[in-house]
């Protein structure tokens, strides 16, 4: 391969590193109204009265909107594909507020200062209600988060708003109880993962305006332009045909921008005032009223025989979706579907059950890993504990039980495991970290202990039978190609990765392929960039479109040269007859195509997949624990990934490094903490700490590439799988250093010290 599997620069790289104005706020019209949201100080309350006249009378204020001014039609902000699994449970503004930070009123003014001042002039009288703050008590609580009659689930997912249930379900395979009862050893533990913030550097932001045709244009930092169109149509109660969504460069997403967090506010302002409007979330707003990871409590039961063969796995997950159900019914599934299959080899039965509950926390959303992260922390930790109980090396117990290529995975929709080098990943990680020398720990003689830990992971590549990606490729004069996509590059490099696939197929230079995306009026439909789908799902569409266009070019050449197509060879620049007697250049075909013919040298291809081939990885960590302070320092992280063919090895490597460091943050210090009234502590990067370059040690990435037969050039996904191993690997290493299992994240110095003190007593 010439271009696929090479580390070319991203197409937008030089614009980004020279600071060009390409992001939403850089390109917003200067005359935008500035939109601000008044946010609730209460976790649960009814708005008895809201006085806006003083704010409205302030010079420079364009409008002040309350629940009286917005459509009373429920919708969801979750950016998901038809038929939409998240319940329709919110208005733009409502007379009930459900978390501290929930929207109470919307102000639009000529500038930021005036908007801020107007917010202070709005007088709200609340009837404060008792909130549900502990998700363990949410189901069947006397307080009902969604008492409204017009709450609506489009898909039956076991929800019951009267019980604070957003979704629930149970799946079984085999006779779990009888197999479990015959097991020699059972590990049964409960794990607690907290809500954490994606913390992309560019906060949520959107601007809106009416165009020449009287249509509402939305320019937004979003991962899901087509879903934004549908969601705004629902929220504003206007036809989809009246909305156009454009995506400029995005300053990171990680799932946060798979929820329509900021779009509705400027959109309703523009709709009502006919004036351009803009909202830019502060970091505080992005931390208190956004779309973080679902907090989960995962109960795991593993049954094994005394040799360490894992025979039965039971997982029960309680997920906290917060005030609204965005991504609630779907994230929870991955806590089972993407953990249990890791141990397919000897597993005879499993049961996976779950409840997703409403509480008066901010709504959760999609965050890289999407439930798999939570489930795998639990199951991987339990497997490490099982190894310890049986006195088996944790690497060996995985070698005995892991899923391997060729196996059918009953817990993963019975999909066959067609491409898998998880075994090689484990072997390489073990070697790279120096497992045999370092396991379990070494006392450094200065109050510090160095130890190692290990974990495996899998994810998916797109949502099987759901996600759809499309690519349009057009031949232009002089023979360059333009590619139009509906997938959203959010810094991950999909514009480049997809262009690499086209250039490879069309046998041309990468510079000969220009990329455009996304404009919902002109881009071909794509579900959006999430669920690790773009390389695999949209990538396959790019290959199909390229092949079809190549075919059409050959058709034209065949007519022009009067040579049967089967006797023609296309080398990317010239089409020649195999006897070398006749030839025509691509440039001539392209230029002659501009007049006097009916040929269409433009192709759109769409692709969905009936399977979602899992990428796999192993993470092995070496840490140093300070026994005096409980401080855990990551020394070295060995990540070994099977994402199939790496289309762009550099970008795959950086994805991995970034995911590992986010995972380290989740394992060691990131935590969304509420007080007993539902107020959130982490309102800035002072209190909500994400890793700096001093907090991550050394991350080393290796690839053990399998070849996925259904993927483009053998590729699977990489975006999400890379965040999953740090939490269980670090928890394992902390156990190996201190003898204490930490089953609640993050593993802070206080918890490490307390654990050691409790163990001594």
């Amino acid at each position: 391969m010439r271009i696929v599997n090479t580390s070319v620069r991203k197409k937008d790289a030089m614009a980004l590193v020279t600071g060009q104005p390409v992001y939403t706020d850089d390109i917003a019209p200067k005359n935008c109204l500035i939109v601000k949201v008044l946010r609730s100080p209460h976790a649960h309350a009814i708005i008895k009265e809201i006085k806006t006249s003083d704010a409205k009378n302030l010079y420079g204020v364009e409008c002040v909107l309350t629940y009286n001014d917005v459509p009373q039609k429920r919708f969801t902000m979750a950016g998901q594909t038809y038929p939409e699994f998240s319940p329709y449970d919110r208005y733009i503004l409502e007379d009930r507020v459900r978390f501290v930070g929930d929207a109470v009123a919307v102000v639009a003014a000529k500038d930021e200062k005036t908007a801020e001042k107007a917010l202070k002039l709005i007088k709200v009288e609340y009837e404060v209600l008792k909130p549900v703050l502990d998700f363990r008590t949410a189901k069947d609580n006397q307080t009902i988060v969604h008492p409204e009659e017009d709450w609506k689930a489009l898909v039956e997912v076991g929800g019951d708003r009267k019980r604070n249930l957003c979704a629930s379900g149970v799946e079984t395979n085999g006779d779990l109880d009888s197999i479990m009862s015959n097991c020699d050893v059972i590990v049964s533990e409960t794990y607690h993962t907290k809500a954490v913030q994606q913390s992309m550097m560019e906060t949520f932001r959107t601007f809106t305006y009416y165009d020449t045709y009287g249509r509402l244009n939305i320019v937004s930092s979003t991962q899901v332009p087509f879903h934004v169109r549908r969601i705004l149509s629902n929220a504003l109660d206007i036809p989809k045909s009246q909305i156009r969504v454009l995506k400029p460069r995005i300053g990171g997403g990680f799932g946060a921008k798979q929820t329509v967090v900021s779009e509705v506010y400027p959109a309703i302002v523009t709709m009502l005032t006919k004036k351009p409007a803009k909202i830019v979330y502060t970091r505080e707003e992005s931390l208190i009223a956004s779309s973080p990871r679902h907090e989960m409590e995962v109960k795991v039961r593993i049954g094994a025989d005394c040799s360490g063969k894992i025979k039965a796995i039971e997982i029960n997950t309680l997920s906290n979706t917060g005030a609204f159900g965005e991504h609630g019914p779907t994230t929870v599934g991955l806590s089972g579907h993407k953990s249990i299959p890791l141990y397919t080899a000897n597993c005879e039965a499993f049961r996976f059950s779950y409840d997703v509950v409403y509480t008066n926390h901010m709504s959760a959303g999609a965050y890289r890993g999407y439930g798999a992260t939570q489930g795998q922390f639990a199951l991987e930790s339990a497997v490490n504990q099982l190894a310890s109980r049986l006195n088996i090396d944790p690497v060996k117990i995985r070698e005995m039980n892991m899923v391997r290529q060729g196996m059918i995975m009953p817990a993963y929709y019975n999909e066959p495991n067609n491409s898998c080098t998880l075994d090689k990943c484990l072997e390489t990680a073990k070697k790279n970290i120096g497992w045999d020398e370092k396991y379990p720990c070494r006392d450094m003689g200065n109050g510090k202990v160095r130890s190692v830990g290990i974990a495996m992971s899998m994810q998916g590549s797109g949502i099987s039978n759901v996600d759809k990606g499309s690519v349009t490729i057009k031949l232009n004069d002089d023979g360059f190609y333009s590619m139009n996509i509906g997938a959203t590059d959010m810094g991950t490099g999909c514009d480049t990765v997809l262009a690499q696939m086209v250039a490879e197929t069309m046998e041309c230079d990468l510079d000969n392929v220009v990329v455009y995306g996304v404009d919902t009026d002109t881009s071909p439909y794509d579900t959006g960039s999430y669920a690790s789908s773009t390389t695999y799902i949209t990538g396959t569409a790019a290959v199909h479109a390229s092949n079809e266009l190549k075919q059409r070019i050959l058709d034209v050449a065949s007519t022009k040269l009067n040579v049967p197509e089967s006797d023609l060879v296309f080398d990317g620049k010239v089409i020649r007859s195999i006897d070398n007697k006749k030839e025509i250049t691509l440039k001539d075909i392209a230029n002659e195509d501009m007049c006097g013919n009916n040929a269409v040298l433009e192709v759109t291809s769409s692709n969905f997949s009936p399977v979602s081939p899992p990428p796999f990885m192993v993470g092995a960590v070496e840490i140093e624990v300070d026994k005096e302070t409980g401080h855990v320092e990551v020394i070295n992280y060995e990540a070994v990934v099977d994402c199939g063919t790496t289309i762009n090895p550099n970008l795959a490597r950086v994805q991995t490094e970034g995911g590992i460091v986010q995972g380290i943050g989740m394992a060691l210090f990131e935590d969304i903490i509420y007080d007993n009234k539902g107020n959130l502590f982490g309102t800035s990067f002072m209190q909500y700490k994400i890793p700096s370059r001093l907090d991550m040690g050394k991350v080393n990435v290796s690839f053990e590439s399998s070849y996925e037969p259904t993927g483009p050039f053998g590729a699977k996904s990489i975006g999400e799988v890379v965040i999953n191993t740090p939490a269980p690997a670090i928890a394992h290493a902390v156990y190996n250093a201190t003898g204490v299992w930490h089953r609640e994240l993050p593993i802070t110095p206080e918890k490490v010290i307390r654990g050691m003190i409790d163990l001594e007593n």
Partner: protein
């Protein structure tokens, strides 16, 4: 208030509100490379040079910049292209939103250190957050850039 400064090599005189921070003033003057990732001086995205020293423009009152020389990435395009090329060759710009502030601080570091060690690099840049890359690719780019600049001398 009346503000006088030298912005990216050119004298600038302008009226501005007294409570303005330098970041907002710079964006008003079309220095869109200057980004805000937080409001609490934690993220480093708003890094610019004032009299050749890196500062956080989100928490730098505009009045302090009066009479001084302010440099943003717009004023260092050649340097940005040169170092940025090393970033691009690692794929380490990713979303790019933190790149301008990061590059400003890297260029400031290069002015202060002849041959920084890994530890000096990490400490100097510890205030520049990046959520995409996990920092390793940035370090690779810096080391290759330093080797390139060393060979040039």
């Amino acid at each position: 208030m009346r503000i006088k400064m030298n912005l990216n090599g050119k004298p600038l005189e302008s009226d501005a509100s007294a409570d303005m921070v330098l970041l907002d003033f710079l964006r008003e003057h079309e220095c869109y490379s200057v980004k805000r990732g937080c409001e609490t001086s934690n993220c480093g995205l708003c890094t610019v040079l004032v009299d050749d020293k890196p500062i956080l423009s989100c928490s730098y009152p505009l009045a302090r910049a009066n009479g001084k020389s302010v440099t943003t990435l717009e004023g260092l395009q050649d340097e940005a292209k040169e170092f940025g090329g090393f970033m691009a060759d690692e794929g380490a710009e990713q979303c790019g939103f933190c790149s301008p502030g990061f590059i400003m601080n890297v260029l400031a570091m290069v002015n202060e250190f002849e041959n920084p060690t890994d530890s000096e690099i990490l400490n100097f840049l510890s205030g520049n957050m990046c959520r995409c890359t996990g920092y390793e690719g940035q370090l690779r780019a810096i080391k290759k850039y330093l080797a390139f600049k060393g060979a040039e001398k």
